[in-house]
């Protein structure tokens, strides 16, 4: 129970804010919820693809391969891979955070992840 609260602090705070605001101004909050649902539905397919891809990478590709391709020592080649991949990404960067987290844990360099996010 304690870990659940710690893990979801931000979401719980947002929920409380939304509930409090809804008491004062329900119509504005319902518009905001509608906006959230619309945005979510638009990105829903990309979320699914990213979740599938990061799980596949984490289960199948060994740590050494990732380190070799996009590790800290991979140099300009790794940065180029990051830049190209970053340009191919669709939608806002934060939906790919899961994938980046997986890659970082497997030894991808922070420099390359930063390139990918900004590309």
């Amino acid at each position: 129970m304690k870990t659940i609260i710690k893990d979801w602090t931000l979401e719980i705070i947002i929920l409380l804010i939304a509930v409090v605001l809804a008491i004062f101004n329900p119509s504005k909050v319902s518009i905001a919820l509608l906006f959230a649902a619309k945005t979510y539905l638009n990105l829903f397919v990309v979320f699914g693809a990213v979740a599938l891809l990061s799980a596949l990478i984490s289960v199948t590709i060994p740590k050494q391969t990732i380190g070799k391709l996009i590790g800290k020592q991979s140099g300009i080649k790794g940065i180029l891979i990051g830049a190209v991949f970053g340009s191919l990404m669709v939608g806002p960067a934060y939906i790919f955070y899961q994938l980046f987290k997986e890659l970082r844990e497997k030894g991808a360099g922070a420099n390359i992840i930063a390139t990918t996010i900004s590309a």
Binding site: L10, G48, A49, A51, L52, I113
Partner: protein, 164 residues
């Protein structure tokens, strides 16, 4: 169909093809394991991102462009740059919805530097999404990235003030 949806479907098709390939040519057990893991990840991240979208929607509705503009118009000079950058960091949303605010500000004689700082941090910094960035990318990385973005915003604002 929105471009995000279309490109998402293309991405999904590629990933599914990878799965099918791995299932038949690689390790079946591992493919199933990955599938199960992705289900869990998908559910968790969906909840987290939906919460972020809710707060963006609430900010968008409750901080009306007019209220934000009138607040920003009170500041001038270097103080204006700082306040503009900070306001842009709190507000968040698609870049396109910041343009009407910027237009209103400029037509009411706000400094170019203030507007530039505001537009920069609107896109580059989101205080609301910061906890999410911490969780996924690590505290050190997120803090460094956001502070450099803030410094760049102020530098860009000063440059624009000098040039215009």
């Amino acid at each position: 169909m929105s471009p995000n949806l279309l490109e998402g479907i293309i991405l999904l098709a590629i990933v599914i093809a990878l799965y099918v390939y791995y299932f038949f040519r690689g390790d079946r057990k591992k493919a199933v394991e990955a599938l199960k893991k992705s289900g869990r990840v998908f559910f968790q991240n969906s909840l987290r991102l939906f919460a972020i979208f809710v707060i963006i929607g609430i900010l968008d509705k409750f901080l009306s462009p007019k209220a934000v503009s009138q607040f920003l118009l009170k500041f001038k000079g270097f103080k204006g740059i700082i306040v503009g950058a900070l306001t842009g960091s709190i507000t968040m949303g698609p870049a396109a919805s910041s343009y009407p605010i910027a237009q209103y500000l400029l037509s009411h004689n706000a400094g170019y530097s203030l507007v530039a700082a505001f537009l920069f941090t609107w896109v580059a910094i989101g205080v609301v999404a910061l906890p999410l960035e911490f969780k996924f990318l690590g505290k050190k990385f997120a803090l460094l990235r956001n502070s450099f973005a803030l410094i760049s915003a102020i530098l860009v604002a000063i440059l624009i003030e000098v040039m215009l």
